[in-house]
Symmetry: C2
DNA sequence: CTGAAAGCGCTTACAG
DNA sequence: CTGAAAGCGCTTACAG
């Protein structure tokens, strides 16, 4: 292994000078720097990350905690968030560590205590999430990608699911719809208090109430892609509904086939709106008017916030809910009010 | 931050003794060890991972390199592999670093050079994968989760796609089928030489030839879940085929709806077999006779192999292709030979 | 503008 | 069975 010592010797300077060149200090003359760079090049030197980390007390790595599963089934969008977070971290010069463990609160605690990471992003946040306690205890810089009812002074960045619900309801209301079906996640997701599910539903119900829209909620049995069953059930139970709001990635993906099978034409027979991760919408050509969650942007902002927090542990905490755009595709029909 | 010094002072012993206790050396008397443990407990000590890494020249972390995408669309199973790899690594006491970068060969090189990780797992391996060169150059311990045509003396662990193809063909042949449709990944996937796609197809074609089964291959336009289009096209083009082999996760997921829409009954009108990640099969209740790839087992074995390699860089390299079981669900009809 | 030196928090022969 | 000491490869005041 070639170290700074070797480079220093080769270039005829001291270790300190090499170090300054590596970190790009302007104090070093260009002439010396060139000499050092030549030596590094020649020897194939690369700074030892561990040694630097020990010296600076910074690992330049963040952790990301995710369960990967919701309700026992592999989450369709977990990978997307991971990817976007890792990419954003890299832009800041940080590596991303996958913090996967049985007991994720414990995982956070030990990662923090052993100083393996400088900060942590929490995904799939629930209300009363035990991981929040672990963060507070260990004092590790953290950002919740999710907005629990009580974030306990931990930074929050997330999509604005409240606004999303409001804008979808407004769109249906303005188009004259007065009776809608809500297709949700499995009940267990709400029971676990997963914040995005709970927040969207709550806001949706309130918006419908305010708009005097009648809602029937139907929940998927499980998180499967063949979720057409729930849609079928919904339409049977509520034949008078003129519109459907879907918040369930798998059901959104399965919906076009379900409609086709049942001979339901969108929007002639039924108007449909949804909320989905943008990547899902693109890749799968979701044909519904929908709020598109820009995962890359949300992840990016989350990492930005974490880096800021690492840099300034005492700054006041913030809650950022990012509005997501409504994408109109012609799946909502304007009803004649009569 | 509480260090070994603090613990040593508190317990009235030397740093060395504390270190031995932490690492569980049997040389320390139980009495002393108890004293030290009490001090650690009292002060809330936890070993500083970075310092240990510098001292031992081991990071206890592995990297995993994945593109997350195949053909521009988010891979349905990427997350599954990541999750299983991270879990397996954890069992060995290793952390998992997400190595995501534009130029993944370069990413590997720099991670290796800066000694951030002890070894690396490569996913989505292609024939002539440039990352293999980066591995050889940097000399970092590595395992390919995938089996390229030339693995250049790098360890390989993967599902046995050859055997999978053979067993699916045998099953169709024994059931009397003589003309089958093959639904593959988009052509771009084969063009990129993604090893699992290429290997499965090649083995399939050979097995069909040997069994005197006629094959028509149809490729998806893109990797979308609404891949029913390709199935529809296939059935139109080859109405005489009695069976279908699908190797394309998205198409497998979309197939039941596609059949339903087209009024095709399985297995009465058409026999169907597939190969899918087990997690997909479970979660999505794929109703087809299929080879189920046990991702967890493959990932686990991959990590085992990597840890062995890290422990013994000079051991001979191996290629492990793991047979996957055929799962019969009644989607193949026995034809009367006549 | 550059170098000598201390220090980051561990581990590990080695001596006792 | 335990401790003093060197060393891992960096960074960073500090002195010059």
């Amino acid at each position: 292994m070639v170290t700074m010592r070797d480079v220093a010797r080769e270039a005829g300077v001291s270790k300190a000078t090499v170090s300054y060149v590596v970190s790009g200090s302007p104090l070093i003359s260009e002439k010396t720097a060139a000499k050092v760079r030549a030596a590094m090049e020649k020897l194939g030197y690369s700074v030892n990350h561990t040694a630097r980390a020990l010296s600076t007390a910074k690992t330049n790595a963040i952790g990301v905690v995710t369960s990967f599963f919701n309700d026992g089934c592999f989450s369709l969008s977990a990978g997307t968030y991971l990817y976007s977070i890792a990419a954003a971290a890299r832009r800041h010069g940080y590596d991303t560590m996958l913090l996967t463990g049985e007991d994720s609160a414990e995982t956070i605690r030990s990662a923090a205590l052993s100083r393996r990471i400088d900060g942590v992003v929490i995904l799939d946040v629930c209300n009363d999430d035990p991981r929040i306690g672990a963060i507070k205890e260990s004092g590790i810089p953290a950002v919740l990608l999710g907005s629990p009812s009580d974030s306990q002074e931990v930074d929050v960045v997330d999509s604005n699911f409240e606004q999303a619900a409001v804008s979808l309801v407004a769109w249906l209301r303005d188009s004259g719809h007065r009776s809608v079906l809500f297709i949700g996640w499995p009940e267990s997701v709400y029971a676990r208090n997963l914040n995005y599910a709970v927040r969207f539903r709550k806001s949706l119900m309130e918006a419908c109430e305010a708009a005097r829209i009648q809602v029937s909620a139907i929940y998927a049995h499980d998180v499967t892609l063949g979720a057409s069953e729930v849609i079928q059930r919904a339409l049977r139970d509520c034949p008078f509904a003129t519109a459907m709001i879907i918040h369930n990635d798998a059901a959104v993906v399965g919906a076009p086939q379900a409609f086709e099978r049942m001979g339901v034409h969108v929007p002639e027979d039924l108007s449909v709106v949804t909320i989905v991760p943008e990547q899902l919408g693109e890749g799968m050509q979701i044909p519904f008017d929908s709020v598109r969650v820009d995962v890359d942007m949300v992840a990016s902002r989350t990492v930005d916030r974490l880096i800021e927090r690492i840099g300034n542990p005492d700054a006041p905490t913030t809650v950022e809910l990012l509005d997501q755009p409504l994408n109109i595709q012609g799946s909502v029909r304007a009803l004649h009010v009569g």
